[in-house]
């Protein structure tokens, strides 16, 4: 479905990705692991069109994505829950969710999807008319995920969905990620919480200073001594 091949990205003069290659297949959950500053967020921002690679191939269903503006990439079926949530603080919860479905005009189906998101996150239902800036951190994360689901993406990019959440909520978010995937959405998951990420993912990649250094099935990675030492805290 999604393919990155030898992708190079720089912020101005400073290189951030130096030849990233990875693949996400239809129906999978793929984890992307790495330390702070390794290039995980940069990878996701490149996929969703916020950054343009200088070199390398980036394709969705064999169609090139590089240079396509972000608002077009959403239409092609990729939704991105960005790092730090980036919900619209001054909009209500409902308006945030409406913006998630911005590219769509199938009102009836949208209403159904809103129901689905609110069933997934009942807390949002209770706060539907509230201004999003007044939500708690966990609720904001739910809103960010719900908002992305409103686009009916085929591929969902999640950037550290568990960041800053209490352990109970982390469990819940990962459970939700699994649910979303079961309902047919492919997921590329960036996480600091490697144990959790490898528990829900089928496959994974490890990125270090802008390049993929390891890849394999989730089980292989979880057994890999280096991964255990560097990311699973052993």
């Amino acid at each position: 479905m999604l393919r990155l091949d030898d992708v190079h990205v720089a912020y101005g003069e400073i290189p951030a990705l130096k030849g990233v290659a990875l693949e996400v297949r239809e129906g999978e959950i793929v984890a992307l692991l790495g330390n702070n500053g390794a290039g995980k967020t940069t990878t996701l921002r490149t996929i969703s069109g916020l950054l343009v690679p200088m070199r390398g191939a980036l394709t969705l269903d064999n169609q090139p994505l590089a240079g396509v503006p972000p608002h077009e990439i959403v239409r092609r079926g990729i939704a991105h829950v960005p790092e730090g949530r980036r919900i619209f603080n001054r909009l209500t919860v409902r308006e945030n969710l409406t913006m998630g479905a911005y590219t769509r005009s199938d009102t009836v189906v949208i209403a159904g999807d809103l129901e689905r998101v609110l069933t997934l996150f009942p807390r949002l239902q209770e706060r539907i008319t509230q201004v999003a800036g007044t939500l708690s951190g966990g609720e904001q994360q739910m809103l960010a995920i719900g908002r992305a689901l409103m686009a009916r993406p085929r591929l969902l990019l999640l950037d550290e969905p568990s960041m800053g959440l209490a352990p109970v909520l982390v469990e819940q978010i990962f459970e939700t990620v699994r649910d979303i995937n079961r309902q047919g959405t492919t997921i590329l998951l960036v996480e600091q919480n490697a144990a959790m990420a490898l528990a829900v993912a089928q496959r994974g990649y490890v990125i270090e200073t802008g390049a993929i250094v390891l890849s394999g099935t989730a089980a292989e990675l979880a057994d890999n001594p280096e991964v255990r030492r560097a990311y699973l805290g052993e």
């Binding site: 972000p70 239409r75 960005p82 980036r86 603080n89 001054r90 308006e95 913006m99």
Partner: protein
Amino acid sequence: MDVELLIGILPQVVIDGLILGFMYALIALGYTMVYGVLEFINFAHSEVFIFGAFVGVEIMLGLKSAGVLERFPWILVLVVVLLAGMLASALLAFTIERVAYRPLRHAPRLIPLISAIGVSFFLQDVIRLTESIWRNAFNLVYPTIESLNVRLEITETIDVSIKSLVVIVAALLMLWALHALVNRTKVGTAIRAVAEDQAAASLMGINVNRIISLTFVIGGAMGGAAGVLFGVQYGLINPYTGFIPGLKAFTAAVLGGIGNIPGAMLGGLVLGLLEAFAASYLSLLTGGAFGAEYKDIFAFSILILILIFRPKGLLGEVVRERA
């Protein structure tokens, strides 16, 4: 001090203040909407405003020289002139953004500001040149429509011209329409989303450039409407007339909380009323020591006071943001 006189003129003062205030409010929207999405002060907006007034006066003069101005129902003439002024100013604002601001989107902040000041001077002189060639004059007067000057008597001492009522009603309708557009439609929500976070908005599938153009178009249309209403109400316009109302409308936008749409409306009304009160009451209350010419000093002193106590403006920062 003649208390009866002071109270007697109050309704008239309020009406004058409302007219001025609605005018400022309409212009202020252009400043505040553009600031909301780009954090940039569109200095050329005062010329977008006066351009609407010129398009309006040209149509009315054209109708007049064709001898049909008084033959059409005044409401029809007014609607046509308003729509033409709005359309023209909207197009102008759209073009200015495309030509003079968009190429500088990523330049340091001062650069687009200088570009805006340049556009402002440029437009003043283009209007002056065009009118000078076309009419041999650039001070133009809106032709009067007799039925608009009819005064309705409310009480023995208070009367109000149909014209003033029309200006107030038209402005109210437009402010209401804009409010509904921004708060109750999908595209309005997108404008607010872009104002808050452009990158996140683009991840929703919102074409940010298109929304930015749209804010210029809407702000321009409101400015053009204000231009026509200004001409209808006060009569005389020239290419430089836009500057002072523009500056005051910008102040009104800051007073309301720049970037905040209801704030611009409120700020405009407050400034208009303050100015009208000062113009009528200053000399009465000070026994003639300060005349109406001090109205701006008075109005702006109050503004400064308000901003000292509410630096974000009357409605600025309604929501506190959390991390």
